[in-house]
Amino acid sequence: MSVDQNTVRRIARLARIAVTDDDVPHLQGELNAILAFVEQLNEVDVEGVEPMTSVTPMVMKKRQDEVTDGGDAGLILRNAPSTEDDFFLVPKVVE
């Protein structure tokens, strides 16, 4: 399978990465090189094989559902580009 330029733009949109018209041709070439490389996986017979979900056998750890941490709004907001009171600030989302 390979991708055309419209697909490259659609993937970029889904990935939330702005691309310029100049970016598209080289991105298309690089993505197609990777897709051509992974093509060989189609040779493998995967009939009846379970997809891997955990690389080592492990049971999900559980703990009591209680508050063990928190109250650190200042620390959590410290690296934010824009804040007001104890909130992250973003451009208006709802008109």
């Binding site: 990465i17 702005a18 490389f37 996986l41 493998v44 955990s54 080592t56 992250f88 451009p91």
Partner: protein
Amino acid sequence: MARFARATADRERSEAVTELTQLTLAEARDGLVRKFFSAIELTQAHVDAIERARALNAFVLETPERALAMARLSDSRIATGTARPLEGIPLGIKDLFCTNGVVSTAGSNILKTFEPPYESTVTRNLWADGAVMLGKLNMDEFAMGSSNETSAFGPVVSPWRRRGSNVHAGGAAGAVEGAHLVPGGSSGGSAAAVAARLCLGATATDTGGSIRQPAAFTGTVGIKPTYGRCSRWGTVAFASSLDQAGPIARTVRDAAILLRSMAGPDSLDTTCADLPVPDFEAAVDRGVKGLRIGIPKEYRLDGMPDEIEQLWRRGAEWLEAGGAEIVEVSLPHTKYALPAYYIVAPAEASSNLARYNGVRYGLRVQGRDIVEMYENTRAAGFGREVKRRVMIGTYVLSAGYYDAYYLRAQKIRTLIKRDFEKIYAQGIDAILTPATPSAAFAIGEKGSADPVEMYLNDVFTVTVNMAGLPAIAVPAGLDRQGLPLGLQLIGRAFDEETLFAAGQVIEEAAGRLALPEAWWAA
């Protein structure tokens, strides 16, 4: 007699002090306890070495004040007989590990000013054992790369040079001139700093080979432990089902000492194993008598340099001479590991990196609306390789392609793991392979036209991540150009001890490599 003993002790002490950066971690640890030198002296020697080695670009942040403050505390603990296992040992930290109040960038512009208000579990464990932080080490952006060329801080210069190379320090401000070699990646800063004797050991991480390949390229020892041996908490995530932390050091013993301190259960990472950490150092001298070592025929690649083939054969002979039995084995799905990895890892990365959107931390670039803000932020903050992988990951997870790509790759991952399980069930204790298909290459030499050319570097290491197994890279000799080559040993899950034992046999047989003189020093 007493005078003689003191003279001997003085001489030992002065020899020990002259070349503090030449010591192995184990030697430094023992010298500190015997008070041949102080933690302050040991740290200062490394701080000075780092300052003179800026041309290598191995450190992205030096923290000398913090280092000396930690060393002072170590000296007082040594004085009061309360030294901990790594008391006063100066280390470098890959910039993927979050360090409390110290900028942690993951090698990316998007996190260039990020100052975590918390400490990663691995580094917290190291400080709790008395280690000293010298600073943060350069790396490929978000650990995506095999040469350290994708870092937002620029490439790292390998301390190694090809025989007869014209690479030298002497440009503007002591900059390196000529087509220098890459140290490998993504833990390129870690490997270069350890090989250049700027620290006694370093933390690193390995998602597809990022500890073992740079270790092989720089003549150092690197171990990726079993998935779940070290907590991933506070380590910037790339591909969560593959990422593991581990050490890079100058000897097998040093790597064993470091891993013991880094590893251990952690309630903050649900995938971290609730298993006690063995005394890895005690396993180093165990030998390989009676072990069955597998040689997988699928690792014999077409076009592999003769030197790699010979090195591999020599490694098997060394282990055989140590009393191991060498057995040819088959891992039939080996060739599919790398392509399957380039579906699984980007898919997980596209999900993990969704958090960098200019809202909670990191760079923000404004747009007309919130979506445009996301897009502009990520376009400006991510480098080319990261964008490429996020986009591939987005594509293979998108509606209509998920089954064909992602689900198929996860099934193949099951088959890869099954290959290993079968041969371990036949009584194989460890598997010997080359660590990389070639020695280090020069900057700009690979991957500029086709990203897959760079990806092929990880062909021998990536299977191990796909199967969650532990593997160590140990220097085993030099090639025709005078560059280090490494061998890889792959173990059973949670049996790193056998790898340290077998790694030590290779290290002793190969003889420790003479690391390059400090041609880079200003």
